[in-house]
Subunit: 394 residues, 2 copies
Amino acid sequence: MKNFTFYCPTQVEFGRDGVDRVGALTAAFGGRKVLVHYGGGSAVRSGLLDRVCRSLEQSGIAYVTLGGVKPNPRLSLIREGIALGRQEGVDFLLAVGGGSVIDSAKAIAYGLAMEGDVWDLYSKKAEAKACLPLGSVLTIAAAGSETSNSSVITNDGTGEKRGYNNDICRCRFAVMDPTLTYTLPAYQTASGCTDIMMHMLERYFHPGGTLSMAADGMTEALLRSMLVCSRKVLEQPEDYDTRAEIMWTGSLAHNDLLQCGNGMRGDWACHQLEHEMGGFYDVAHGAGLAAVWPAWARYVVDTDPARFASFARKVMGVTETEDKAAALAGIAAFEDHLRSLGMPVTVTELLGRRLEEQEILDLAHGCSFQGTRTIGTLRVLDEADIAEVYRRAL
Amino acid sequence: MKNFTFYCPTQVEFGRDGVDRVGALTAAFGGRKVLVHYGGGSAVRSGLLDRVCRSLEQSGIAYVTLGGVKPNPRLSLIREGIALGRQEGVDFLLAVGGGSVIDSAKAIAYGLAMEGDVWDLYSKKAEAKACLPLGSVLTIAAAGSETSNSSVITNDGTGEKRGYNNDICRCRFAVMDPTLTYTLPAYQTASGCTDIMMHMLERYFHPGGTLSMAADGMTEALLRSMLVCSRKVLEQPEDYDTRAEIMWTGSLAHNDLLQCGNGMRGDWACHQLEHEMGGFYDVAHGAGLAAVWPAWARYVVDTDPARFASFARKVMGVTETEDKAAALAGIAAFEDHLRSLGMPVTVTELLGRRLEEQEILDLAHGCSFQGTRTIGTLRVLDEADIAEVYRRAL
């Protein structure tokens, strides 16, 4: 087991009606002037935003609001949020929404605590030294941003989608009420479930095989549970326990618990492949991951067939005894599962058209930062490999 | 899934040589004047205490030391620590040792932050409103106190052993270096492994069956891993990965992660049965748990044979299809496992003599707080039940 630091100080308030404790929680964590950040109209229409604001008022907490966050949250809105926060003397960020809203709020929180340009963090030109405290009210089970140390934003000037990880941005509290996810459309629910499973797979497949018995066992158990729940939620979208399992697993999948022992490194190639497409084509994150995973898995399987076989047997129930055959059966079984959720399993299905070769080369060029970086750790992929994975994913 | 709050803000520093970061960690969490609390001579003889003090000095942190903590930590020493801390203006507790030392430090930290008598917390006459911040350097994998919200102390005036749980006592940081546990005697190692497994079993068996798919699956995976590692560590006491799995699982087993979803209630009858014996006969905690568990399990199995069958099949590998038969086979298999670790599986084996009937009645009277409380939740046990479990455990 490799050395690790694990620090996830988020207070999780899980269950029905946690929303009404937002004011008290914000006060407990020192918020006095809050920027309430949210997405489109659903938080308004459902009355959730009103409920959050009422709770803040009842705790005597002043606030301003900024809505309009879209999937793949835009740098331009983040800059607007930073300007608003400065002008209003905001000392606490409250995200009401899914991963995009929380990630956008994290970027604003970084921006309000630094002097330079917040994009410098995401373009890896600077490291954050501070971050305003944040809380969140989660409405989509997917990104795990409510307890993770990561955020991913898109520079709408350049089309670049980039992530930045730092423990200082972890939410002080996360209100997680599964009933808030009842009304999500099926495609978005399935995309969220895929994202959750992919957060586990990205960590499970990494150089060196076993994470640790603890992390491997917990990951396999949570993946098995997600196979059941992701299917069931599409049939019974208002089944509380199923929504609850998915929402809680979404946090566990991405708060780093499941990579303690592997040097805190996963593979993450699929996330990079998806980010590049997400920045350009604005696809649902989970769906984008589903579209590249099967091609990625078959491209890299020979690097560690035993690990893929382990996934196949312990998660997908494959009984095949020979490793390579088991590995391929496991990949096919997971691909079938994604398809059964209505997810695209190729880029062509994702975009509704076949990419031209030049588009593939452009994606690979962007994904490799113009040929200056590799992606992946299980198998390291350079620009040519990246292009080949996109090609095989058509 | 029932509502829950999960808040475990301990920064885990896991791996070799974390001890040398103690000073920096203490400074980062605001410690300026530290009470370094430890147990017997082994921390001194091994040079660990010197290393901790050097690290504090290098970070410019003043400290006083107080050793002498024994298993089943004494209220008298805790009172001494509170007096010393007051006199020296201590603002941070640093526990260097196992669960007893950390629990003793937690009690001192409570005591230094309150006006009344600290025993009032443990005798349930008062609730803690504050607690001095703590850090720990763990030397025994067992109690999980390094990330838990609990502490258990013994009133050496009355022989009462009592626990108190509150999130405010969770350590700010925990330095966990598996190599520090290499030299533990086999009996203590086995007792620690038993304690870790029992922390999971106490939560796994509770009214209502399934915790949640997530918690059940993680618990079963970690129990399976502990079955392997608890055996292996006795054969290879200096195998790093095995010690590491045990140490990390010890934290996960008791930081409440594994009871999220069940209303944060476990059964805990075996802990109460053991506490009563521990207060009077000063037995190793894990060994005391091993001595009562088989009798407890057989006494309560009919309350939920399906749950015991689930444990039998998913953890102990029992293939029996009928629930009650599977349940009994699982109990026997776990009893065999404990025996294979050199643990006593009866109270007679634990104490080396057969208790007199009057001693059993006295234990039951004490454990039931003179007949004023019941213990257990899966099956609620009154004073007569408690006596009967002790009797069957002979």
